[in-house]
């Protein structure tokens, strides 16, 4: 088994599953019907990407774990998503800002991964880049509308910036797995995307009349399975059926 590739795929898959899970919590509760369609749509894309990544990770591992065993069958310490993905949704401002940050990052990430030396990764990236482009546009538009909307929406968007800021640095953290993937030209080095990401965020923030984020103080640990207190509760729901009724076909 190619251990670093397996680890890298699981990280990416966990990011998408956990964020998709959070976004899906909005379904039926959105501020307007159009968003009750848009948010599940984005969640569907994210979970779809997670499925492709888990399946491929399962093939690489060759230990008989399929997408569901990987998605539902691990302990909390074995999930390796970015912490920002697991944070509770907060209000609509926080949800959209997080989604924008993630989509902006993933758009850059997938765009580079389209040229991956690994054909499966390149194929996943080619599909995901189109989806991330739409997610970034949709969520970026909301960041602008809310940032430059009413007094209340501006305050809420500023609060969202404040709450999420400590979780941004983790996007660009590099360790042995990331370096290995980058050296083999399989996945981009996240550190190398930092400048372009910040430029993209700042461009939207200028229109949104928001201050550029400060990435100095970053909470990290997601990639090592050190999660926030919110994660266990999320997994309690996510894994409920598989834990209650193990080894069954659904």
């Amino acid at each position: 088994m190619h251990a670093p590739l397996f680890a890298a795929l699981i990280r990416l898959a966990d990011d998408h599953l956990i964020l998709g899970h959070r976004l899906s919590e909005w379904c039926g509760h959105a501020p307007m019907l159009e968003e009750d369609l848009a948010m599940p749509n984005i969640a569907l894309d994210l979970i779809g990407q997670a499925r492709a990544l888990y399946s491929y990770a399962g093939d690489i591992e060759a230990a008989g774990r399929d997408e569901d065993l990987l998605a539902f069958g691990r302990l909390e310490r074995d999930y390796q998503n970015l912490l920002i993905c697991e944070l509770p949704n907060g209000d609509f401002a926080q949800t959209m800002l997080r989604q924008f940050y993630f989509a902006s990052f993933m758009l850059l990430f997938w765009a580079e991964a389209e040229g991956s030396s690994n054909a499966t990764v390149a194929a996943v990236a080619a599909k995901a880049v189109k989806e991330a482009k739409y997610h970034r546009r949709h969520c970026g538009e909301w960041v602008i509308r809310l940032g430059d909307g009413t007094e209340e929406s501006t305050l809420r968007m500023q609060e969202a910036c404040f709450v999420l800021e400590p979780y941004l640095g983790e996007f660009f953290a590099v360790d042995d797995v990331a370096i290995e993937m980058s050296k083999a030209s399989i996945l981009p080095n996240p550190q190398s995307l930092r400048g372009a990401w910040l430029a993209d965020v700042c461009e939207v923030f200028v229109s949104a009349k928001l201050q550029a984020p400060d990435l100095t103080h970053a909470h990290k640990g997601g990639r090592q399975g050190r999660h926030t207190e919110a994660m266990g509760h999320l997994l309690a729901q996510l894994q409920y059926m598989q834990r209650s009724f193990p080894n069954m076909t659904w």
Binding site: L37, L44, A50, A71, R145, D148, T150, L238, W250
Partner: protein, 330 residues
């Protein structure tokens, strides 16, 4: 997902007999009535109420199913359920738009819903307790909805009829998906079979109630039939549903919770037991297990989202005042 027999539609038209006769002649000639056509006030009012109730049913119907999105047992089931609930939201959107062509706004209809004044399909006032409920809803509730809605594709009001064509295609897919969930459970472990049987026990009678009160007690049906809004009576549709569904239940190896259920050779249909109409009216009048919760959840979403909608409007006004430049560069 479904519209129940109308509750409280009044007729207060002052139109001339010639106008009403000419309108009825168009209906009788199977012409479609379009938004700008003259129409009797009672026809308009009836449609606004029916399409509104139908739209509300789609929107409230998202809640019992979204209750299981975060707990779906596999990724495949999770994405299918997410997509299904999203479809229901889409149906709500078409239907509100169809109602808007009759001169009522989505905001007005939403305010009616969250005030508790508007009706929606009573079935959504029951809880989804297990994963099998998601199968049972798809199979039975969407199945009943299809029985109700297929005739609406030929409804005299054009925008409603056209919306129904697309809605029915999607509902039919949902129904098959629901049945497939039940099938998988019925083929599974003892615990899964029990779960499927339990869900059928709980959803069967409320599904039969979806067709509305028995024909003798149904208000408004006669006029709706004349206007070709309604093509079959409540009892006719209910019978069709029973006849279609019983063999499906048998195929699953599940037992319908009705000891009186039996094939009637002479009539070529299934006889079924007495529906508990006291329960039906109790739920319609707001006393079902979750009536208050469903409305409260919709109201909370609407109230919590007020600042978002206000911000979007405020931004749109500011933007209109500025040069039209792309919001986010590609």
């Amino acid at each position: 997902m479904y519209s129940q027999g109308l509750i409280g539609a009044g007729s207060d038209n002052t139109e001339t007999p010639e106008f009403l006769t000419a309108f009825q002649a168009r209906i009788d000639a199977d012409e479609k009535i379009e938004p700008n056509d003259p129409m009797p006030a009672a026809y308009r009012k009836t449609l606004i109420r029916q399409i509104g109730q139908h739209a509300h049913s789609e929107i409230v119907g998202m809640l019992p199913e979204s209750n299981w999105i975060t707990r779906a047992p596999t990724l495949r089931r999770k994405v299918a359920l997410l997509a299904k609930v999203q479809d229901e939201g889409g149906h709500g959107l078409y239907l509100y738009s169809a109602a808007e062509t009759l001169g009522v706004s989505r905001k007005e209809m939403t305010e009616e819903l969250i005030s508790g004044r508007a009706k929606y399909s009573s079935i959504f006032n029951y809880p989804t307790q297990t994963w099998a409920d998601i199968g049972a809803i798809g199979w039975l509730v969407d199945g009943a909805a299809i029985m109700n809605q297929v005739p609406l594709c030929r409804c005299s009001y054009g925008p409603y009829a056209r919306a129904m064509i697309r809605v029915c295609k999607e509902e039919s897919f949902h129904q098959r998906q629901g049945y497939e969930i039940m099938f998988t459970l019925a083929e599974g472990s003892a615990a899964q079979k029990d779960m499927a049987q339990d869900a059928l026990n709980r959803w069967w009678w409320p599904s039969l109630m979806m067709f509305g009160p028995p024909d003798g007690d149904s208000l408004h049906s006669d006029q709706s039939t004349l206007w070709k809004i309604k093509r079959f009576s409540n009892d006719e549709l209910r019978q069709k549903f029973v006849d279609a569904t019983v063999p499906q239940a048998l195929r699953l190896g599940l037992t319908l919770p009705d000891e009186a259920l039996a094939w009637n050779e002479a009539e070529g249909r299934y006889d079924y037991g007495e529906i508990d109409w006291d329960e039906f009216w109790s739920v319609v009048k707001g006393h079902g297990p979750l009536n208050k919760d469903r409305v409260a959840v919709r109201k909370k979403a609407w109230d919590d989202g007020a600042w978002v909608r206000e911000a979007a409007l405020a931004y749109a006004r500011k933007r209109a005042a500025r040069a039209a430049t792309p919001l986010v560069a590609e």
